[in-house]
């Protein structure tokens, strides 16, 4: 799978400075905006698939020693790596922003962490929801669907910033057991949805590219 990830890295290389710029701009705009940068990075696998489709890469890839599972899984892994990378960049950018703004009293609080965790969570879920449709219909046809999903996510984020903060306060302010249960259920949900999504994507990929 290393070769597949390397290929996607080369394909997306030119997009990375944009991501960096966006992350920095958001960091200076305020902590809660970082979530958009994380979500943008979660969608980079879709861009990589668009390039693959344009060059009919999948047919060439079928001549290489990769299983369908590896071909599909590599896009999920790419998304997850991008989420982690953008979170790290966001955190660094925000620390720099705080220093530049001379915010001597800057202390990462619940809100700070909840934004990152919320962004990562939404990113993972978005990957899991979008990729099966992209695998089935292709980027162009799935564009409408994922535009709706993105709009939906943006609306949730905008209207529920308070909700995310409150949830974070609630989770971390609750008893250890309640917090543990909530975090565990959330993680389990993300893992289950991702596993199910990967299985569906493999099946769609097989049907679309091998029949």
């Amino acid at each position: 799978m290393k070769g597949l990830l390397l290929k996607d890295y080369y394909v997306l290389k030119k997009q990375l400075p944009i991501l960096l710029l966006m992350t920095t701009a958001f960091a200076f705009a305020g902590n809660s905006f970082s979530i958009y940068a994380i979500i943008y990075s979660a969608l980079l696998p879709v861009t990589a698939i668009a390039y693959d489709e344009r060059s009919k890469w999948d047919i060439l890839a079928s001549s290489m020693p990769y299983t369908i599972r590896q071909l599909v899984l590599s896009k999920y892994v790419l998304g997850w790596i991008m989420i982690i990378a953008s979170s790290v960049v966001c955190a660094a950018a925000e620390l720099i922003a705080a220093a530049v703004k001379n915010a001597a009293g800057f202390k990462p609080d619940f809100s700070y962490f909840s934004n990152f965790i919320g962004g990562q969570y939404i990113g993972v879920m978005l990957i899991a929801l979008i990729l099966p449709f992209v695998m089935k219909a292709g980027v162009e046809k799935a564009r409408i669907l994922y535009s709706i999903l993105l709009g939906f996510c943006a609306a949730i984020i905008i209207t529920s910033r308070f909700f995310i903060d409150s949830l974070a306060q609630f989770v971390f302010g609750s008893s250890n057991l309640t917090a543990f249960i909530i975090i565990s259920v959330s993680l389990l949900l993300a893992v289950s949805v991702s596993i199910l999504s990967i299985k569906i994507s493999i099946s769609f990929y097989k049907k679309k590219n091998r029949t």
């Binding site: 070769g3 080369y10 290389k13 030119k14 060439l60 001549s63 990769y66 299983t67």
Partner: protein, 286 residues
């Protein structure tokens, strides 16, 4: 399973809404070069994709390098396959140098030096984006990529189409070099019959989704000939030996089996292209 054959297809079928690839039987010996020829839409690319496992056949058995393509182990066999496919390339945002890095991470037996030598030999710029390449350059990079991990089977789908004669000749030479090792096999599909005539041991003629013939090239050239006769003289020819013919008001030109040529009748110079064209005409008349 015998490894004497690099490719074996038994009763392979594949149906689409408006096209059927019908009952394909094929045994291609290891160490040979076979040319797959046929009109647009005859099913050449479909066969190559089926051999690669990139398409699932509706029925039949496909064995490549001794392994059934339906087996899970076939994904590992692919390290011994090199493919250059028509209009299927590396993504346009990457360079030849980056392709080398991707292949190095993909194939255990990738030879970076060999790949770089091919880039030099084919004069492929290392740092130019793939989207800026001409078709010739794209194909040459495809061939460099396909040959640099020591494959045993090379599958080429229209790899020489649309290229100028000089580049084609250069590529054909590299395919011939490849089969200097008697374990290496090439299956090449092309419209350019003269290219196939230069390098192939076997010719597979596919017409409307069916194999019309799969024969040794030399045997085809030995066995068939073109004759050009007046209509009266043509009546002396055994109709059973006529494969295909075309008539005008002055003469009849026909491809016939040499054993059916009446004595004292002179044969015309016959090329592989003539044989294929007349076979196609014969099929049309059936």
């Amino acid at each position: 399973m015998s490894n004497k054959n690099a490719i074996e297809l038994k009763g392979v079928t594949k149906s689409y809404k408006d096209f059927t690839l019908g009952n394909i039987n094929l045994s291609l010996p290891s160490g040979s070069i076979a040319g797959l020829v046929g009109e647009n839409g005859a099913g050449k690319s479909t066969i190559i994709k089926i051999i690669l496992g990139a398409l699932q056949a509706d029925s039949g058995e496909i064995t490549v390098l001794g392994h059934n393509v339906k087996e899970k182990s076939f994904d590992c066999v692919k390290k011994d396959i090199g493919a250059v496919l028509d209009e299927s390339y590396f993504p346009e945002m990457i360079t030849a140098r980056q392709v080398g890095s991707i292949l190095k991470a993909t194939y255990d037996n990738f030879d970076e030096k060999k790949y770089n030598d091919y880039l030099k030999r084919f004069m492929i710029p290392e740092n130019k984006l793939f989207r800026e390449y001409s078709r010739g350059m794209k194909m040459k990079l495809g061939i460099a990529s396909a040959l640099s991990h020591y494959p045993k089977l090379l599958l080429l789908d229209e790899a020489t189409s649309g290229l100028d004669p000089l580049i084609r000749d250069e590529l054909l030479e590299s395919f011939s070099d490849f089969t200097e090792d008697e374990n290496n096999t090439v299956l090449i599909s092309s419209h350019i019959v003269s290219d196939l005539e230069k390098i192939c041991d076997y010719i597979i003629f596919l017409h409307k989704g069916k194999i019309v013939f799969f024969e040794e090239k030399d045997k085809l050239l030995d066995e068939y000939a073109i004759i050009k006769l007046t209509s009266e003289n043509f009546e002396a020819v055994d109709p059973e030996s006529v494969i295909g013919k075309r008539e005008n008001k002055y003469y009849t030109e026909a491809l016939i089996r040499k054993d059916g040529i009446p004595k004292n009748f002179k044969c015309e110079h016959t090329t592989l292209e003539d044989i294929i064209l007349f076979f196609a005409k014969g099929e049309e008349l059936k």
